[in-house]
């Protein structure tokens, strides 16, 4: 077991983790933050995307020990109380989610994208999000939601 100390959604926490434990399961099983879903085992689907020191990462491909001393933001940490984050609001208004399983990953990847590129073209959005898979929406409304969030200054 290895001791790690990190910040998750603004709150400090310390825990003993197995060196092989993945960040995704640390968040889900140890911290109970089940909003981060796991959709594959090959770093392909992006459902588990979180922010690690502000950058989007697939938390299934980061060991919990690698998050030592880092700040992690999960989907549970982006709304401001009752008020949805502008990216969450845009996904709602554009009907950019159906079964909802991939949604947390898309939200986090979008937040990361818009931080780097506040006004992406459709093509830039599609390529920035190609590491996130969705089976329900055909991506159309997700692209519209990212554009709407960009317009809203997310």
């Amino acid at each position: 077991m290895t001791r790690i100390a990190l910040t998750v959604n603004g709150a400090s926490c310390e825990a003993d983790v197995e060196p092989r434990q993945l960040l995704a399961y640390f968040l889900r099983d140890t911290l109970g933050l089940t909003g981060t879903n796991v959709g594959c085992d090959t770093t392909s689907c992006g459902a588990c995307t979180v922010l690690l020191d502000g950058e989007s990462v697939k938390s299934c491909t980061v060991f919990a020990v690698q998050a030592d001393d880092c700040a992690v933001t999960t989907v549970e940490g982006i709304a401001d109380g009752d008020e949805l984050h502008p990216v969450q609001q845009a996904f709602h208004e554009q009907h950019a989610l159906q079964c909802g399983y991939c949604t947390p990953g898309f939200l986090m990847a979008t937040i990361s994208l818009l931080k780097e590129n506040p006004d992406p073209s459709e093509d830039e959005i599609r390529h920035a999000l190609e590491g996130n898979l969705c089976r329900c929406t055909g991506y159309h409304n997700i692209v519209l939601a990212v554009q709407a969030a960009a317009r809203a200054g997310a």
């Binding site: 197995e18 092989r20 434990q21 399961y25 889900r28 099983d29 933050l33 089940t34 909003g35 981060t36 879903n37 796991v38 959709g39 594959c40 085992d41 090959t42 392909s44 689907c45 459902a47 999960t74 989907v75 549970e76 709304a79 949805l84 969450q88 996904f91 709602h92 208004e93 009907h95 989610l97 159906q98 079964c99 909802g100 399983y101 991939c102 949604t103 947390p104 939200l107 459709e122 959005i125 599609r126 390529h127 999000l129 190609e130 590491g131 996130n132 898979l133 969705c134 089976r135 329900c136 929406t137 055909g138 991506y139 159309h140 409304n141 997700i142 692209v143």
Partner: protein, 755 residues
């Protein structure tokens, strides 16, 4: 103004957006053991022995094998024509029949310990000859079930064969096509948990589309009374037809009963790719004949369905393919049908479209080839053969009775929306320039059958003490948005704001009965049942109000715009739902404001026309989809926003089949595409914005006028894209192209045409 027909945002969104989705794997279950399945690495082998000692030497690990399992086997679904002798053990005992079949069960304290132990279970396999292709399986040389004596798992369609079917035809075309095997890939892999209560009753949490049917299936498999099982389907992350009760869920309940401890299991993606049943895998041969002036006279469709290793629903689906073989055309003579055969591969079940895209693709390809053969514009051939819009109901030669439609109207709308003439001009220009990147334009007119086996669904409305309404539905949402759509229907009937209507589903203790969601039947059945139950509640409320007003119920009216009851022609006295519920609660009469309805529907037939525009690099074979114009008519739309979302998802799946996805085995039955790295699941970068165009031709078969829209997007898109790629390749002599039309297949087709 009615709320119906409006683009109402979803009520269920906030919990998903906040990461509060209640998927099975997210549910806390105190003291639960983790189940890990050891799965066969061989496609066909005899099990010579299983050594569990090393695994069980790990702390708190128990391993069970087929010899321990005292229930089963499962029999094929009791559908007409299916071979009932091909039974399926819950855990393989003597023989494995596909890669992914369960050979042992590991019970451990947590996920990691379970994986560690599973790797230590040593299975000794003696390989057997393997049969992967259905054509080989049909020869009955390698048998999966020697005791049955054949690999034929089922027969579909009509057995008729008229040697003179095409005798009066001026032109006859024939070809084959494979609707290739696809992995359904719901983003949430399957997950199940089960807990034995002190009273011997089992609660099961399942990632399923059909909680009530699962309860019956589980009870049968476990030898229990259905009342002793409660199934809860919480939030489910997509199903696409494939999330049906299978061996894993039965084993979870059996394990909790045996161990007396709660158990849980969530499959990994790589496990899901071989263990969750696949879709499509139909091998089709078609022949179409007609006159030289474009009138189709006869059509024959032969279907060889790959069933996978054990016959489940997929073995039956060719019956739907045969039923829908006529497409949108009035064809005087049709022979359609065939056989389903078992192979050493993952079993085949329903996947978005489920037997109907295959029918559409065959007839649309046949029409294109026939048009080319007689030298007529394929649009004109379609026009000459469409069932006219004033000819409904229309019964096809293949036996389907279509309810309503305007097929030429849909095609015209698609052509107009696409700017078809301009597209053809652009194509001519590219061809004249002669560059590597050529345009292809493809179209498909499609028809779909929803609620295909005429089912019944349950709906119940209960007014709460606060004057809101609870809708209980036997239908289920695994992403479709029933919490919004069904609330809209009930709100409209009751005259309540949608915010005061709550939809309850997916718990067999809370909802009396139900069938679940598949076959694109939810709104037309479950929505109707909810609406009719709401009408019943309104009538009951009128009786109550009449008592309070000392009037006759016949004189009480509900002003839906205001949500108030009053005496006809008098503004006062009046009662709102809130006032009525409050008063009824005080008088112990609230229970009168509750009603249930079972609505039986008969099949409805959505239709449309899709046009695809592709750019094909004729040097490399690379294909890019530039545009997909989709006219989809599913009758009256309750919520156009959600309906369009269904179209988008369906179209994406149809395009994925045309261009990308293919689940592949080698000759020994080893899956070559069993992860998300190897399987070509398209991302946002692979697809364009969809151009969805609404069209509404109500069905006369229900009061909502609604047909189903969940699967229709898959019908037209696949042949439209396939036809578009073939259109681009036509000047190069390519007449046949296997799907998916990826760079490799297109390049090969170009090389063969040159040879």
């Amino acid at each position: 103004m009615s709320i119906l027909g409006n683009r109402v945002l979803r009520k269920e969104d906030p919990r998903f957006l906040r990461g509060e989705g209640r998927y099975v794997e997210n549910l806390p279950l105190e003291g639960a053991l983790t189940v890990t399945f050891v799965r066969s690495l061989f496609a066909h082998a005899r099990i010579a022995g299983i050594d569990t000692a090393a695994a069980e030497a790990l702390p708190n690990v128990q391993v069970l094998t087929g010899a321990d399992v005292d229930i089963g086997p499962l029999t094929p679904p009791p559908l007409p024509g299916l071979e009932q002798g091909m039974t399926r053990p819950l855990v393989a005992t003597d023989v494995v029949r596909y890669v992914g079949e369960i050979v042992a069960i590991v019970i451990a304290e947590d996920r990691a310990a379970g994986v560690d132990a599973a790797e230590l279970v040593l299975v000794d396999y003696d390989p057997l000859p393997t049969v992967v292709s259905p054509q080989e399986a049909a020869k009955d040389e390698v048998l999966l079930f020697p005791a049955v004596g054949t690999n034929v798992a089922g027969h579909s369609g009509s057995p008729e064969h008229d040697e003179h079917l095409f005798d009066d035809c001026d032109a006859v075309v024939t070809d084959r096509l494979v609707s290739q095997r696809m992995a359904p890939c719901p983003l949430e892999p399957r997950s199940a948990a089960a807990e034995l209560g002190p009273d011997g009753r089992i609660t099961a949490w399942l990632s399923t589309q059909t909680p009530h049917q699962d309860r019956l299936g589980l009870a049968g498999a476990l030898g229990m009374d259905p009342s002793q099982i409660r199934v809860i389907a919480p939030d489910v992350g997509g199903g696409f037809g494939a999330k049906q009760l299978s061996v894993e869920e039965v084993l979870l309940l059996w394990l909790t009963r045996r161990l007396g401890r709660p158990v849980r299991w969530t499959e990994t993606r790589s496990e899901s790719m071989v263990a969750l049943h696949h879709g499509r895998a139909a091998h089709l041969e078609f022949t179409l004949g007609g006159t030289k002036d474009g009138k189709v006279l006869a059509y024959r469709l032969g279907i060889l369905q790959d069933s996978g290793a054990y016959p489940v629903l997929g073995s039956f689906l060719p019956n739907l393919t045969a039923l829908m073989s006529s497409g949108v055309y009035a064809i005087p003579r049709i022979e359609a049908g065939g056989r389903s055969v078992v192979t050493n591969t993952t079993p085949i079940t329903s996947f978005r479209g489920a037997g109907r895209p295959e029918a559409c693709q065959a007839i649309e390809r046949a029409i294109e080839m026939f048009a080319a053969e007689i030298g007529m514009d394929p649009i004109e051939v379609r026009r000459r053969n469409f069932i006219p819009k004033d000819a409904f109901p229309h019964t096809t030669a293949s036996g389907a009775t279509y309810d309503s439609g305007d097929y030429e109207g849909a095609l015209d709308l698609a052509l107009h929306s696409a700017g078809y003439e301009e597209l053809r001009a652009a194509q001519r220009s590219r061809r004249e320039q002669g560059g590597a990147k050529q345009l292809g334009i493809g179209l498909a007119s499609y028809i779909e059958i929803t609620n295909p086996v005429a089912e019944t669904e349950f709906g119940e409305i209960e007014i709460t003490a606060e004057g809101g309404a609870i809708v209980r539905t036997g239908s289920f949402s695994h992403g479709q948005g029933h919490e919004t759509t069904f609330a809209m229907i009930a709100a409209e009937r009751l005259g309540l704001p949608i915010e005061q209507v709550t939809v309850v589903k997916g718990d067999t203790d809370d909802v009396a009965r139900g069938t679940g969601t598949y076959g694109s039947k939810s709104t037309q059945l479950g929505g109707m049942a909810a609406g009719l139950a709401a009408d019943d509640v309104v009538e009951r409320a009128k009786t109550l109000v009449a008592d309070y007003f000392e009037a006759s119920p016949a004189d009480i009216a509900l002003d839906r715009a205001l949500g108030r009851f009053r005496v006809v022609d008098a503004p006062e006295p009046s009662l709102s739902w809130t006032e009525l519920a409050s008063r009824a609660a005080a008088d112990q009469r609230l229970g009168e404001l509750k009603a249930a309805h079972d609505f039986q529907g008969i099949p409805t037939f959505p239709f449309g026309a899709h046009i695809a525009v592709v750019e094909v690099d004729v040097e490399t074979g690379q294909v890019e989809l530039l545009r997909l114009i989709a006219v989809d008519d599913a009758g009256t739309l309750i919520n156009p926003l959600l309906a369009q979302g269904q179209v988008h998802g369906g179209v994406a799946t149809g395009v994925a089949q045309a261009l990308y996805e293919n689940f592949v085995y080698d000759d020994d039955g080893n899956p070559l595409t069993s992860t998300f790295v190897g399987y070509a699941f398209p991302s946002s970068a692979d697809l364009p914005l969809w151009e969805a165009v609404e069209m509404e031709t109500p069905t006369p078969l229900n009061a909502l006028g609604a047909k189903g829209i969940g699967e229709s997007g898959t019908m037209g898109s696949t042949p439209a894209v396939h036809n578009a790629v073939l259109d681009a390749l036509a000047p190069y002599g390519v007449r046949h192209l296997d799907m998916p039309a990826n760079g490799e297949n297109v390049w090969r087709a170009l090389q063969e045409a040159k040879a």
